[in-house]
């Protein structure tokens, strides 16, 4: 009978995505509740030193697929290797962080294994031994509780939602025999922006701007820098060419769940709310007291963002 929990971790050039630790922490909690082993899967090239980083979050076993052919993520190679490991170990549940890569991989893996997949989960709980997955649908306008028939079950976890909990233990490390198989895509190049830029979906704090900025994001950037956060944007700000597409938050942009989301000069259209409504604390700064964003925020200031935002930056500096 299928048993145990797999967590597929994600790293690039030796650095794990934060969502991998979130997934491991969640896996540890569920494995304890079910009294089953937690297995971390680590794929890449030159991984000797990396297994130790995972031990902190409590896997019982770390399966390492270390091969030059896995240096870059390709759907085919990773699916082939992981599907083989899954077949050999027969876990009941596979958890993957729903990063862009995680979405690509979990969808292909689910099809390969004929496994049910709950994408972009914001919660997993046990109900009488059965896993219940919570996931937003319709841009977060409703939240579904779903169960999955058969095994393995696959859950991809929305980044930045689950808490990271350290639960160090010494894990057994096992090397997987790597058969990358037929790989039909080649990664020609990776173009990464400045590495000190915080990725929107992983940022703890996001300062977002809309039409109300009139294209001047400098005061928002100052606040974001002071807070160690990232800058986001409404679609209008992107359509106007003020910000790149990668900054867009919403139903046709990124879905983010930071601890703090500061919406400046954003009216709060339903498509924007779809991208940020699971933020833990929402602050709205808008000169129109009737702006719909105020109905979704925790704290609101009616005022001109060009006056309020710099003042907030100064106050934050005082705090530090």
């Amino acid at each position: 009978m299928a048993q145990g929990i797999f967590v597929i971790t994600e790293q690039r050039e030796g650095t794990f995505r934060k969502v991998s630790f979130e997934a491991l922490s969640e896996g540890r909690r569920l494995a304890d509740a079910k009294n089953v082993p937690l297995v971390a899967v680590l794929c890449g090239s030159g991984l000797e030193a990396l297994a130790g980083d995972l031990e902190k979050y409590g896997p019982d076993l770390i399966l390492v697929a270390d091969d030059p052919a896995l240096a870059e993520y390709t759907t085919d190679a990773f699916t082939n290797v992981i599907a083989e490991a899954v077949k050999a170990q027969d876990p009941e549940l596979i958890i993957i962080g729903a990063s862009i890569t995680g979405k690509d991989l979990s969808a292909r893996l689910a099809a390969r294994l004929d496994a049910g997949l709950a994408m972009d989960c914001v919660g997993v709980r046990l109900d009488g031994g059965d896993f219940v997955f919570t996931r937003p649908m319709y841009g977060g306008k409703v939240v579904a509780d779903v169960t999955i028939d058969g095994t393995p079950k696959i859950a991809a976890l929305r980044p930045n939602v689950m808490t990271i909990t350290e639960a160090p233990r010494s894990a057994a490390v096992e090397k997987l025999a790597v058969q990358v198989g037929d790989v039909k895509t080649t990664v020609v190049e990776r173009k990464l922006e400045a590495t000190d830029k915080v990725e929107l979906t992983e940022a703890d704090i996001i300062v977002s701007g809309g039409r109300g900025t009139a294209g001047d994001f400098s005061v928002l950037e100052d606040l974001a820098n002071t807070l160690g956060g990232a800058v986001g944007a409404s679609r209008t700000a992107v359509d106007e060419g003020w910000r790149p597409h990668s900054d867009q938050v919403g139903q046709t942009g990124k879905v983010v769940s930071p601890n703090l989301y500061v919406a400046c000069g954003i009216s709060g259209a339903i498509q924007h709310l779809a991208g940020m409504s699971t933020s833990k604390v929402i602050v709205a700064i808008n000169k129109d007291p009737e702006a719909p964003i105020f109905s979704k925020a925790d704290y609101g200031i009616v005022g001109d963002l060009f006056k309020v935002v710099p003042a907030v930056t100064e106050e934050v500096k005082k705090l530090k």
Partner: protein
């Protein structure tokens, strides 16, 4: 170039989504239905490729009778023909079952390239397109914002966290459209008139050789147990006054002491 675009009809993103009496589905009566926004990018890209290279753009969509409107929209934008999988037995299929049905339909449609949306904004599953690629045994490149085809090779710029990856593969390939790929055109009036005369095949599961016992709500692997409204937020705290400095100070104090996030 034979291009197939996977298109889904979804509720307009403006829609108010209400949970139906059964607690596991939504009320559909008052909804306005549109083409999934990401599929608009997919159709547009297909048309641009055909305009550059020649060939055929076929729209493939599974859904109830009204789906025909969305297929016609794609034909009015300029696609050449449509295939509509319309079978009550398929209604409510989960992403895996949907992908199996679409893949079965693709056995009868020639293709060099399949373009889909990166996700449908109803179920937000991000899943059907990669599953179709798997069932057809072809490579997938998801979340594409730029593509170039030369000969039998496609080179795609894929969004990744913090940048882009440039990925190459030999056709046939399936890629999914991300916002930034293009600006979709509107259907012109002559386009709408022409669309009425374009071929549109309707297929049932039996036509595709798919066993109805693998499809539909009853045969979902992923079972919806309950739909709930999103968790309610507590009432907003408005920071009063009109002196920005005083307001800022009060806000930061609240974020520090009350919300404890600074």
């Amino acid at each position: 170039m034979e291009i197939v675009v996977l298109v889904k009809q979804v509720p307009d993103t403006e829609s108010l989504i209400q949970i139906a009496g059964d607690g596991v589905s939504i009320k559909t009566e008052d909804l306005k239905w549109v083409m999934n926004p990401y599929d608009e990018f997919a159709v547009e890209e297909a048309l641009r490729i055909r305009e550059a290279q020649g060939g055929t753009v076929t729209i493939l969509s599974m859904g109830p009778a009204k789906t025909v409107e969305t297929i016609r929209t794609a034909l009015a934008m300029g696609a050449d023909k449509g295939v509509h999988i319309n079978d009550p037995a398929a209604e409510g299929s989960d992403p895996l079952a949907t992908a199996k049905i679409l893949a079965a339909a693709l056995k009868d449609i020639p293709f060099d390239l399949i373009i889909a949306g990166m996700r449908a904004v109803d179920g937000d599953n991000y899943q059907v397109a990669p599953a179709v690629a798997e069932f057809l045994g072809i490579p997938q490149i998801t979340q594409v914002i730029k593509e170039e085809i030369s000969g039998d090779t496609i080179r795609c710029h894929q969004v990744v966290e913090g940048g882009t990856a440039v990925i190459e593969a030999k056709l046939p390939v399936l890629f999914t459209a991300q916002r930034g790929l293009n600006e979709p055109r509107y259907a012109s009036l002559p386009g709408i008139m022409k669309a009425k005369k374009k071929p549109l095949d309707v297929k049932t599961l039996a036509d595709l050789g798919v066993d109805a016992g693998t499809a539909g709500t009853a045969n979902r692997k992923v079972k919806i147990k309950a739909l709930n409204p999103p968790p309610a937020r507590k009432a907003i705290t408005m920071i009063q006054g009109d002196d920005p400095v005083a307001q800022a100070s009060e806000l930061v104090k609240k974020l520090h002491e009350e919300a404890k996030i600074l």
